[in-house]
């Protein structure tokens, strides 16, 4: 994409994941920001996509644990009961 060429909404859609993950070149980021300054729908899509990803990442930030019952059953099935750390 040249310096003066603005991405279309469709082009932007294909670049969205890389954009929100910070994996695009500075030049492409500037093009996208120029586009979103004049396209409210694309701005909303980017903001809500970022929020969507952050909500799921936040939900995964809690430690992943299994219940004591599940752990006991798992160790028993795997024949590892004698090696359980309490």
């Amino acid at each position: 994409m040249s310096e003066n060429e603005q991405p279309t909404c469709q082009t932007l859609l294909c670049l969205l994941s890389d954009y929100v993950d910070g994996e695009l070149s500075e030049e492409l980021c500037r093009e996208i920001e120029r586009h979103t300054a004049g396209c409210d729908n694309c701005r909303v899509v980017i903001d809500t996509l970022r929020k969507t990803i952050s909500l799921y990442r936040a939900s995964a930030a809690e430690p992943a644990e299994i219940s004591t019952e599940t752990r006991d059953h798992l160790f028993k099935t795997l024949n590892l009961e004698d090696y359980m750390q309490h």
Partner: protein, 200 residues
Amino acid sequence: MSDGQNDISIEALRSGDKHEFARMVDTYSGPLYRLALKMLGNEPDAQDVLQNTFLKAFQHIREFEGRSKLSTWLYRIASNEALMMVRKRRPETNFTDTVQEQDEDQILDPVQFTDWCCLPEEEFLTSESRAALDRAVQRLPETLRIVFILRDIEGLSIQETSQALNLSESAVKTRLLRARLRLREELSSYFGERLDHLKK
């Protein structure tokens, strides 16, 4: 050779050291169970996937060559087990699911343009909102769901996700974009309604 993050000895695992196996089970059962639960949506099936994952890991540990992290290898086994379980359950899935499977290759054009980011932060933390997040993931076709869970919930890199699923990195990126856009639509619909409700 050791598992870099958690210092589990691969040599000890290969030689059948049960103490090391027990350490591996305790280290990885939480994340693997979460992956299975997000994929399957119910605890008994997730427990079966967890159990089968470790049984297969025990059987095949000698084939693990260490080209990926131990965690990625375990995610690979768990992903295969979870996908097999989803596919086994398919005859019970409804028509809507089938339609979604057929159109999983399409990038859906956005249709929801409500900006719900301005909702008060506590709105996102309610049990109802969390249930909406889980429902949205459950509605993704399984080939998109597994990519999204590995990358955006479990935090694997694109490269690790591609190793876990035996897909090219470009296929992972494409599926991830499709999954994220579908989830954004679902959440826009849910949180858009919450926004309307709060405005009244």
